[in-house]
C-alpha cells in the first residue's frame, strides 16, 4: 500500500475513533441529564396525579361529612311515623306522608346537586340502622343486601355505629347494587339527636372509572395497583364501565387485570415488592427491561387503601420528545463528518507533501544511468533530505569508484602492455636471420613458445579491456561502409591457416555484393572469436561454415560447425562473462571466458542480436544480425 494511502487510512481511523468517542461521551452525558430531567418530570406527574386522587377522596369525604350535618336529615329522622320503618302500600311501594315527601324531595334535590359536583349518577343511601337494613333510599331503589363485596383490605368499610360522627370512610371497590358497576364508596354517620345517637349513615358511591379519567396519559402507561396485585386503574386497559357491566358479588379477578399484565419479569416483580414496602406518600423510581427496551417507572404510595400509583415510560418515548437531543445527535454527526472531511483534506495535503519528494527521489533514481550517476537535486526540510544527502553521497562515491576503476584498469593494461612490446619485438628480431643470424631448431622452438604465450597474454589483456569497456558502455565504434562479401572472403582466407591442423573443411557462403555500415575491426573480432570456438569444438576433418545473408533491414551472419554441440540448459549462460561450456576447453584455445560475452556486448553495441542453435553431437550454429541502420541508432544514443 502506498504511504499516502496508509497515512490517510490511519489518520481517518484515528479521527473517526476520536470523534466517535468524544461524540459518544458528549451524547451520553447529555442523554443522562435529559433522562434525569425527564424522570423528574415523570415523578412530578405521579405526584400530580396522586394529589388529584387524594383531592377527589378528600372532597368527597368532606362533602358527605358536610351533607350528614344537614339539619334536614335530623328532621327526617325525627318524624315519628318513620321511626318504625317505611310504610308500604299494597303494591309494596313506599308511602310517604306529605311532610316526608317534602323532606324527601328537598333531600333528593340536595343529593342531586351533590352528585353533580362529581358528575356521577351513583346512588346515595341513607342507612338508618347501620346494618344495611331498612335503608332510606333516596334515588334508584335497589335491593340493599349488598352494600359491599368481599372484604379486600383494612380500609374496607364496615358500617359501624362505632365510627365517630364527622369522620368519613372510603370503601374498597365493589359492584354497586344500584348501577351494577364497580364503585368505591364514602360513608359517614348521621347524628340526629343531641345525645350523639347515630340514626344512620350517609353513603356515597363513586364509579371506579373516575380514576381512569384522572390517570389518562398520552405518553407511557399510568396505573393504580392495590396490594393484592390488581390493576385498579390502567391507562392502557379498557375497563367496561357502563351501568350493568358488572354483577353483584363479581370477584375482583374477573374485572381487574393482574399486575402481571404490565410485566411478568422478575425485575418488575422486584419493583412491585419495592412499591408495596413504601411508606404512604413516599415515592421512588426504578428501571427494568421489557421487550429489549429499558423502561423507567416512577411510583408513589397513595394514602388510601395502600394503593400505588405508577407511571412507566420506555426510554425511546422518554427521549422521543427531546428535539434538543435529536438536534444534538444531528450536530454531532455533522461535526464528525466535517472534522473527518477537513482532516481528510489536511491528511491528503500532508501525505502528498511527504510522498511527493519520495516520488521525485524514486523517479530520479529510476532515470539514472548506472555508468554516469548524477546527484539528485532535491531539498526538503525533513528526513527525506537526509535520504537524498545519503544517496548523493553514495552516488558520489560510486562515481569515484567507477572513475578509479577506469583509471586503474587503464593503468594496469598499459603497464601490462609495455613489457609486451620488447618481448614480442625481441622474439621477432631473434627469428630474423638477417639481424640475428641463423638459430638452431631448439632455439627457434623456444622463441616460438615465448612468442605464442606473449601473444596469448596480449589477447587476454585485449579481452579484459574490451569487457571492461562494454561493462562501462564506453566501447566506441568506428563505423564505415564495408563490402561484406569482400570482408567475408578476406576472413575466410585469413583464418584458413587455423583449419590445417585438424584438416577442417572450411566454407564461406556469403551473398555477393552485400554492403553494410559497421565497425570492421569489431566485426572481425566477433567472427574470429566464433570461428576460433568452432575450431575447438569440431572433430578432425570436421566442417565449419561461415556466411552472411541480406535480411532486408539487417544482415545475418552465421558460423556453423558439426562439433559436439551445447546442452540446452547451458545455452542461456553461454553469453555470460567468464562462462565456458567446459573448462577443459579453455586450454585448447586459451580463452578468458570473455569471448562470447564480448561478442554479445559488441553485437548489442551494434543494436543487433546474437543467438545460438545447437543439437548435442550434431553441432552448433551461432547467428548474429547487424541492423543496417545501427550507425543511426548509435548516433541517436550518443
Amino acid at each position: 500500500m502506498k504511504i499516502n494511502v496508509k497515512l490517510i487510512v490511519l489518520f481517518s481511523a484515528i479521527m473517526v475513533a476520536v470523534t466517535a468517542t468524544l461524540g459518544f461521551l458528549a451524547f451520553n452525558t447529555v442523554e443522562a441529564s435529559v433522562i434525569d430531567s425527564e424522570l423528574l418530570d415523570m415523578q412530578n406527574i405521579v405526584h400530580d396525579k396522586s394529589n388529584q386522587i387524594e383531592t377527589l377522596h378528600s372532597r368527597a369525604s368532606e362533602d358527605i361529612v358536610f351533607a350528614a350535618q344537614n339539619p334536614k336529615f335530623s328532621d327526617y329522622f325525627d318524624l315519628s311515623d318513620t321511626k318504625s320503618g317505611n310504610i308500604y302500600n299494597d303494591d309494596g311501594v313506599i308511602q310517604f306522608t306529605s311532610e316526608q315527601r317534602k323532606l324527601k324531595s328537598d333531600l333528593e334535590d340536595w343529593i342531586y346537586h351533590f352528585q353533580n359536583k362529581f358528575t356521577v349518577d351513583e346512588t346515595c343511601y341513607i342507612d338508618r340502622t347501620g346494618q344495611q337494613q331498612g335503608a332510606l333510599i333516596l334515588k334508584a331503589p335497589v335491593p340493599d343486601e349488598h352494600l359491599s363485596s368481599t372484604k379486600k383490605s383494612e380500609d374496607y368499610f364496615e358500617p359501624s355505629f362505632e365510627k365517630d360522627p364527622g369522620e368519613s370512610y372510603v370503601q374498597y371497590p365493589y359492584v354497586s347494587p344500584a348501577t351494577k358497576r364497580w364503585v368505591f364508596a364514602y360513608t359517614t354517620p348521621i347524628v340526629t339527636s343531641s345525645d350523639g345517637q347515630k340514626s344512620g349513615f350517609y353513603h356515597f358511591e363513586m364509579p371506579i372509572y373516575v380514576f381512569q379519567d384522572v390517570i389518562k396519559s398520552d405518553v407511557g402507561r399510568m396505573f393504580v395497583i392495590d396490594p393484592e396485585g390488581f390493576l385498579i386503574a390502567d391507562s392502557n386497559y379498557n375497563y367496561s364501565n357502563k351501568p350493568g357491566s358488572g354483577y353483584m358479588g363479581q370477584p375482583h379477578e374477573e374485572y381487574f387485570p393482574s399486575i402481571d399484565s404490565i410485566s411478568d419479569s422478575e425485575d418488575f416483580a422486584g419493583i412491585v415488592s419495592g412499591m408495596n414496602s413504601l411508606e404512604k406518600g413516599q415515592s421512588k423510581w426504578a428501571t427494568y427491561d421489557k421487550n429489549g427496551e429499558k423502561y423507567f417507572v416512577a411510583y408513589k404510595k397513595l394514602p388510601t387503601f395502600n394503593w400505588i400509583i405508577g407511571y412507566e415510560v420506555p426510554r425511546s418515548q422518554l427521549l422521543a420528545g427531546e428535539n434538543d437531543l435529536f438536534a444534538l445527535q444531528i450536530n454531532l454527526i455533522l461535526l464528525t463528518s466535517l472534522m473527518s472531511a477537513g482532516g481528510l483534506v489536511a491528511i491528503i495535503m500532508v501525505s502528498s507533501r511527504i510522498t511527493h519528494p519520495i516520488k521525485i527521489l524514486a523517479d530520479s533514481c529510476k532515470k539514472q544511468d548506472v555508468h554516469n550517476l548524477k546527484e539528485i537535486d532535491l531539498v526538503t526540510d525533513d528526513e527525506i533530505n537526509d535520504v537524498t544527502k545519503a544517496l548523493n553521497n553514495m552516488i558520489k562515491q560510486v562515481n569515484e569508484i567507477g572513475q578509479m576503476k577506469e583509471e586503474f584498469s587503464s593503468m594496469v593494461t598499459h603497464e601490462l602492455k609495455t613489457p609486451l612490446t620488447p618481448i614480442l619485438g625481441w622474439c621477432q628480431t631473434l627469428k630474423n636471420p638477417k639481424i640475428m643470424g641463423e638459430l638452431s631448431e631448439k632455439q627457434r622452438n623456444a622463441i616460438e613458445k615465448i612468442q605464442t604465450n606473449a601473444k596469448r597474454l596480449q589477447q587476454l589483456i585485449g579481452d579484459i579491456l574490451d569487457a571492461e569497456k562494454l561493462d562501462m558502455q564506453k566501447m566506441k565504434f568506428d563505423f564505415q561502409e564495408i563490402n561484406v562479401t569482400d570482408f567475408m572472403n578476406y576472413l575466410h582466407k585469413n583464418l584458413q591457416r587455423l583449419m590445417d591442423a585438424k584438416e577442417i573443411k572450411y566454407i564461406n557462403d556469403t551473398e555477393p555484393n552485400l554492403k553494410l555500415i559497421t565497425d570492421k575491426n569489431r566485426l572481425e573480432q566477433v567472427l574470429t572469436n566464433l570461428v576460433l570456438n568452432a575450431v575447438d569444438f569440431v572433430p578432425n576433418k570436421g566442417l565449419i561454415n561461415i556466411g552472411a545473408q541480406d535480411k532486408g533491414d539487417s544482415v545475418l551472419f552465421f558460423v556453423k560447425d558439426n562439433g559436439v554441440g551445447i546442452d540446452k540448459d547451458k545455452i542461456s549462460n553461454l553469453f555470460s562473462k567468464f562462462y565456458q561450456v567446459e573448462t577443459s576447453m579453455t586450454r585448447s584455445h586459451g580463452g578468458t571466458g570473455l569471448g562470447l560475452a564480448i561478442c554479445k556486448g559488441i553485437i548489442d553495441g551494434f543494436h543487433g542480436k546474437i543467438w545460438v542453435e545447437s543439437i548435442v553431437n550434431k553441432g552448433s550454429t551461432f547467428y548474429f544480425t547487424i541492423p543496417k541502420d545501427s550507425i543511426r541508432n548509435n548516433t541517436e544514443k550518443n
Binding site: L420, T421, P422, G425, N432, I435, K469
Partner: protein, 122 residues
C-alpha cells in the same frame, strides 16, 4: 633516412637499435621528450618515432611544443601508442597535432621495417 627515436623504455630503444643496425638508416635515440625537442631544433631528421606515454614530458607535450615552434612539418613524426582507443580517434589526434601517422604497441618489428621502407619511398 635520418631517424630520431624518443622513448623512455630502454628495452624498446635497444630493440630498435638492434633492428635498425643492419639497415641503411641513420638513427639516434633519446629517453625523454625535452632532449628530443632540442635535437629536433638543432638537426634535420626525416623521421621521428615518438612514444606517447613518457613520464614528465609526454609525447603529446612534445607535439604541442613542436607545433608551437612550427617544427612539426620539418620531418615526419610517427607516434607509438599502447592506447586502446579506436583508430578514428587516434587518426584525428594525429591530424590535430600535426603528426604524420601512428603505430600501435606492441610494435610488430617486421611491420615496422616494412613501414620505414614505405616512408622512405615517399
Amino acid at each position: 633516412m635520418k631517424i630520431l627515436g624518443i622513448d623512455d623504455n630502454a628495452d624498446i630503444t635497444d630493440l630498435l637499435d638492434t633492428v635498425l643496425n643492419g639497415s641503411s638508416h641513420q638513427y639516434s635515440f633519446v629517453d625523454n621528450g625535452k632532449d628530443g625537442i632540442n635535437l629536433i631544433r638543432q638537426n634535420k631528421y626525416d623521421l621521428v618515432l615518438l612514444d606517447l606515454a613518457m613520464p614528465e614530458f609526454s609525447g603529446l607535450d612534445v607535439l604541442d611544443e613542436l607545433k608551437k615552434e612550427n617544427l612539426t612539418k620539418k620531418q615526419k613524426i610517427v607516434i607509438f601508442t599502447a592506447s586502446s582507443i579506436v583508430n578514428s580517434e587516434i587518426e584525428s589526434m594525429v591530424k590535430e597535432k600535426g603528426a604524420y601517422s601512428y603505430l600501435r604497441k606492441p610494435i610488430d618489428v617486421d611491420q615496422l621495417l616494412k613501414y620505414l621502407d614505405e616512408i622512405n619511398e615517399d
